[in-house]
């Protein structure tokens, strides 16, 4: 079970133009945890995600997945372990049909076609869109695209799911459905999001970033109760934790 760990040790990243995107970030996410990384625009959330999948290499510090440090040699194995779902599904659905797209990962693992078919069907059924398998991506709705992108990653059978802004651009119903789906997964999950109500629903633990540094790392309830911290990090309480504008009562 140890390979479900995600760990950052003193992780720093400075872009070529001198922008410090991450400054000495350390955390340890353990097996089966569901963790939100939140922060204002430009706080370093996306940069951090790129590190978890080895798309960026640290200026200093290291990332460990399981007990393995992320290096050039361990990269292929780590990318099989960590499934990354991008914010814009159009970036991820590049094959001509949904089926081919979900099959892309398993085929890269050189699995026999029968096994590829099995995995594709399981992944598409898991996210509830097996019926659109023959369609080209541009004929899907926003919610279906998101599900297809997630299926593409699930078909790789990852232990850890890393998702950038999973609910962005979805209508309320599709968003609610997706939150339900993500809540059913038993993987170790890391989300970035501005959808703080989703964070409240899905993630018992939250890490707050400000200008590349970890400002808070703790239980989501505690983080959202700290108004001074939230306003310093250009965040606010989720709507569910704010008083109702009509009757003045709180949901939680």
């Amino acid at each position: 079970m140890s390979h479900h760990l995600v760990e950052a040790r003193g992780l720093s990243h400075v872009y070529a133009d001198g922008t410090v995107a991450l400054a000495d970030v350390s955390f340890r996410i353990t097996h089966g945890e569901s963790v939100a990384i939140i922060g204002a625009n430009g706080a370093g959330k996306s940069t951090l995600l790129m590190h978890l999948n080895g798309h960026l290499s640290p200026t200093s510090g290291e990332v460990r997945i399981g007990e393995t440090p992320l290096t050039k040699e361990t990269l292929p194995a780590i990318r099989r372990t960590v499934g990354l779902v991008l914010q814009d599904p159009d970036d991820q659905l590049f094959m001509p049909t949904v089926y081919d797209d979900v099959a892309f990962g398993p085929r890269n693992q050189s699995l026999p076609e029968v096994e590829v078919g099995r995995r594709v069907q399981a992944a598409l059924e898991r996210v509830g869109i097996w019926h659109v398998r023959g369609k080209p991506p541009y004929r899907l709705s926003g919610g279906e695209k998101k599900r297809a992108a997630i299926a593409g990653v699930l078909a790789m059978a990852p232990d850890i799911l890393v998702m950038d802004e999973p609910t962005s651009g979805l209508d309320p119903y599709a968003r609610r459905q997706l939150i339900g789906l993500l809540g059913e997964f038993r993987h170790t999950r890391v989300f970035t999001s501005h959808d703080l109500d989703m964070v409240l629903d899905l993630c018992p633990r939250t890490i707050v970033l400000l200008e590349g540094a970890v400002m808070a790392d703790g239980s989501t309830q505690d983080v959202f109760a700290d108004d001074a911290l939230l306003s310093r990090c250009r965040l606010e309480r989720p709507l569910a934790l704010q008083a109702c504008p009509v009757c003045g009562t709180k949901r939680f």
Binding site: R79, G83, L86, D91, F94, M95, F104, G105, R107, N108
Partner: protein, 267 residues
């Protein structure tokens, strides 16, 4: 809105390929080969050829009829090549003034005849290509070309071109709408440059994100495909039949035979 309609048109062409007819079911390679041989045969006549080109129209017409494709829609797509062909052929009547044909007291120079020939060939090539896409689908054509020895990077490029044409088109439409929204008058060259540059940068960013998504799913430079289809008897018959006809039309003066036969029957 015309631009948005253009995008939808492209999608419609793509949808046609999901149809089910005897032609749709053929191996894409067979259809690609027949189309290539067709284009080579039709293009390789000498520049004054007009009459020998006419019988070649039987191929696109047969494909459209067999696959029950919407003829008005496809004709509009085919007609798009006419202005381009005209632009290429237009100087001919000026440069080539030697009289080659006299018909009902009118004299036709070689230039006018070669102009007509170029237009006919363009129509033939465009009709064959569009009919091929409509019964096969672009991805299957790319896969077929790849299996027939086209370098893989080129096949992958074509696939991506196909996949992101709509995404890029939508981005271009959004930019145009944003410009017109704020009262953008006629498009100056400078503004045009800025817009195209912007689009290029966006494309670049997107390309990087796509590559990232590919690497995240273990891309190693090799595009796996599903179970490859095998050339069956109908495929071989299709290739042999059409290619035989094209070679016959190319090497024998079939129009003259037909003309003689018709005249003989009339007498």
């Amino acid at each position: 809105m015309t631009r948005v309609a253009g995008l939808l048109d492209f999608r419609r062409l793509d949808l046609l390929a999901t149809g089910d007819s005897s032609l749709h079911r053929l191996d894409p390679r067979a259809k690609v080969i027949v189309t290539l041989v067709f284009i080579i045969c039709a293009m390789s006549f000498d520049r004054y050829a007009v009459a020998p080109l006419i019988p070649f129209f039987v191929f696109p017409i047969a494909v459209i009829a067999t696959a029950r494709l919407p003829i008005a829609f496809l004709s509009r797509k085919v007609a798009l090549v006419l202005p381009v062909a005209l632009l290429i052929a237009l100087p001919n009547p000026w440069f080539d003034r030697e009289v080659l044909l006299q018909l009902a007291g009118l004299e036709f120079s070689g230039g006018w005849i070669s102009l007509l020939s170029i237009m006919l060939r363009s129509l033939l090539a465009a009709a064959a290509a569009i009919a091929l896409v409509a019964v096969t689908g672009f991805p299957a054509i790319c896969a077929a070309l790849g299996r027939m020895g086209m370098p893989r990077p080129l096949a992958v490029q074509l696939l991506f071109l196909y996949r992101y044409m709509t995404v890029l088109g939508e981005e271009a439409v959004r930019m145009t709408v944003a410009r017109e929204q704020r009262g953008g008058g006629p498009l100056s060259i400078r503004l045009y440059g800025a817009l195209v540059g912007r689009l290029l940068l966006r494309t670049w960013d997107r390309a990087e994100r796509i590559y990232l998504a590919m690497c995240a799913r273990g891309f190693t430079g090799d595009f796996g495909s599903g179970q490859p289809s095998r050339l069956g008897r109908p495929d071989i018959a299709y290739v042999a039949g059409w290619c035989g006809l094209f070679l016959l039309l190319r090497t024998q003066d079939v129009t003259q035979w037909l003309g003689a036969a018709v005249l003989g029957a009339l007498r």
